[in-house]
Structure formats: structure tokens, C-alpha cells
Symmetry: C2
Subunit: 227 residues, 2 copies
Amino acid sequence: MTKLYHFSLDPMSRRLRLALAEYGLGFELIEQKPWEPDPALYGLNAAGAVPVLVTDAGEPLSGIEAVSEYLEETREDRPSLIPGTPLQRAEIRRLTGWFDTKFYAEVSEPVLTEKAIRRFLPREAGGGSPDMNRVRSGLSRLRAHLQYVEALIDRRRWLAGDELSTADLAAAAHLSCLDYLGDVPWVEFAPVKGWYQRLKSRPSFRPLLADAIRGIPAPASYADLDF
Amino acid sequence: MTKLYHFSLDPMSRRLRLALAEYGLGFELIEQKPWEPDPALYGLNAAGAVPVLVTDAGEPLSGIEAVSEYLEETREDRPSLIPGTPLQRAEIRRLTGWFDTKFYAEVSEPVLTEKAIRRFLPREAGGGSPDMNRVRSGLSRLRAHLQYVEALIDRRRWLAGDELSTADLAAAAHLSCLDYLGDVPWVEFAPVKGWYQRLKSRPSFRPLLADAIRGIPAPASYADLDF
């Protein structure tokens, strides 16, 4: 069976969980906590990071784009998550990369590191109190990104066009991690909330809503479809 | 004609210049200096960053993976730069992402920002003397990456397998920027030097070797095929 080495609050891991479910593939999840590094992970990915997908045949695949494109290329008769012409696919990949690179660096990484990961790290590995300046800066930039998502969703059914794509999965994966911490100001961005609600209601999303990190309870709204 | 908005010492821009040339596409280069931000760039890419490719039809494409995959999908009868089975393509994309994400964050970004870009930035935008701690840390991590490249090239003709791929272009694009600053310890990594020499000798590489940044002369070895 396909295995996915992941961490619950890692946006790239979440994106692959969503993609695997949308493609209808069964998989086994193996949790890797950033504060308890597993030496075996380096044998699967020289970068030592999640997500790592291990195929049925035992081949370890890493690199978020590499795995995402592999799943698309081997999906057989399942609907594409990078649908359309080369131009439309470029738009999907542009937005997917936007979230996994720019949004991650400006928002997800600082907020998740400071508010969640740092509290579990030993002091010698950088553990301790969160740097609230990094949190504030991340949450302030989150608003600019939500404005951008709102502008996209204002003129399109899904983020990159008429069809659901990896761009929606990437954006929702990042936002769902922040939502676990109660940090998404949905009330100010009603159209974005409507788009997220549609995603949140899909069967592929359900397992993410059941995630629970010991010591960090999610707010009640996190798993509520009518948040 | 296809246009590429680029910056000479931006590794992702260099990767696309190499790819365009390998695919045999003619293109016009439009230089964008990070220290003289061009407001028009935001009209082409909401992230305000290079590289941006503008197609013959005037469509602006951005996001390094988006553009790279677009060129591959529209290459017609030119040789593939992501050749092979889905598994082989996953390995190419894993290594391509390795350089554009991990190598960039750990090596290219700190070294290029501190040694080149910062000297041209106005003081209020972060200009001034380089932070030598960031340079030293970047160059120390460069050695670990060169060891990894050496381990790959020890058992493969090209980085990701038997054929030239975007993984080679990405790696060479990053290394060539550092080489422009004289910062690659080639003498300690003879097999990596041999691989780079093969790339450097390709016609696609020649325009990069003619790059010149005002105020930062490249060492003589930079353009020398027998360095």
C-alpha cells in the first residue's frame, strides 16, 4: 500500500493527503514530528523532510512538486487535478507554487513554527517562547494573501479556473493549518470563506478535520462545516 | 517573440534561459534589477518577481515550475528536459526542486543577496555592508551540497539519470551565479567540475558566460571552459 510520511500541521503533507484522496488512492499515514526527528527519514529523502510518498513498489518519492506531478501522471482514469491547456496548467502551477513558496515563506512557516513547533522543540534546538514579531508579521501578510485569493475567486469558480485543481488543494492546505490555530479572519473575507467551505465539505477534507495535535486543541470552528 | 524578464544573477532566470536555449526557442531578454524595482513587473506577475516569460501571444507566465513545465509541454519536436517514466520524471523534479528550494534558501539567496544585491540597494531598503555571517554560513552549506552532487554524478551520467534534464539546468544555474562571484571550490570536487564543464561547453550556456554586472567583474575563470 502507498505510504505517506507526513506531519499534521505541514501544509505540503496536507496537500498530498488531499490529492491522494481526490485521486481515490488508499494510503497509510506515518506521522513524523518535527521535534522528534526520525533518522530513517533521511534514508527516504536526503533532505530529511516530509512529505515522503512511498509507492506500492517501495519507491520513496519526495519534493512536493515531484510527488504531485507523479500522482497526476499515474492517476489513470481519475479526474485530473492539473486540467486544461498548457496555459491553463501554467496558471494552476503558478498559484500552486505561490502558496508553497511565497505564502509558505511569508505566512505558514513563521506562524506554524512560532505558535506550534517551537513549543515542542528542546531548548538547544531552538525551542522556547514564540517570537511574537514573526507571528504578527505572518498574520499581517496573511491578510494581503486573503485579498489576493478573494480577487481570484471573485472571477473564477475555483482558484485557477473553472475546475478544482492542485492550486485549490495547496491554498486550502496552508489555510487549514492556520485555521487549526484559529488564525484565519474568515469573517472579513466572505467570498474566500465560501470557497473554503466548498473544499471543506469534500470527502477528501474529512480526515484533515479529525487531526489533533497533543497540547494544541483546535478551536470548535476548525472541524465545523458551518463555521 | 517570446520575452523573458530576468536578472543576470537570479538562478531561476538562468535556468529558464538555459531551458529556452536547449528547446531551441529564440527569445528577447529584458533585465530587471532587484535594486531598481519596475512597477510594470507587478502587472506581469502579482508576486513582482523575475523570471516572467511573456509568450508570443503576449501571455505572461510566472512561477519557475509553471514556466518550466509549460515550455516542456509546448516544446513540440524538441528533446524533452523531463524525460523518462513517471518515476524518472519524479527524480528529475525532486532534484530540480532541491536546487530551487533548499539550495536557494541555504546557499544562493544568502550569498547572492549579501555579496551582490545588498551593495546596490538604497540604505532604507536594506542596502549596505554584507552580513558576512550569512555569507560564511551559505558557503559552508555549499560544500555539503557539492558533496551531494558528487555522490549523484558518481553513479549517473547526468544528475537525475542518463539524460540531461531540468535538474542539471537548475543545479548549473545556481552554481553559475556563485561561480560568477568566484565562490565555488571546484578544485575540491573534481567530478562535479567535470559535470559542470560538460554543461558549460553547451551552446545554451554561452550567453550566461557573457553576463556582466556593472561594478562586479567576474573572475577570469568564470567564462573559461578550461577553468
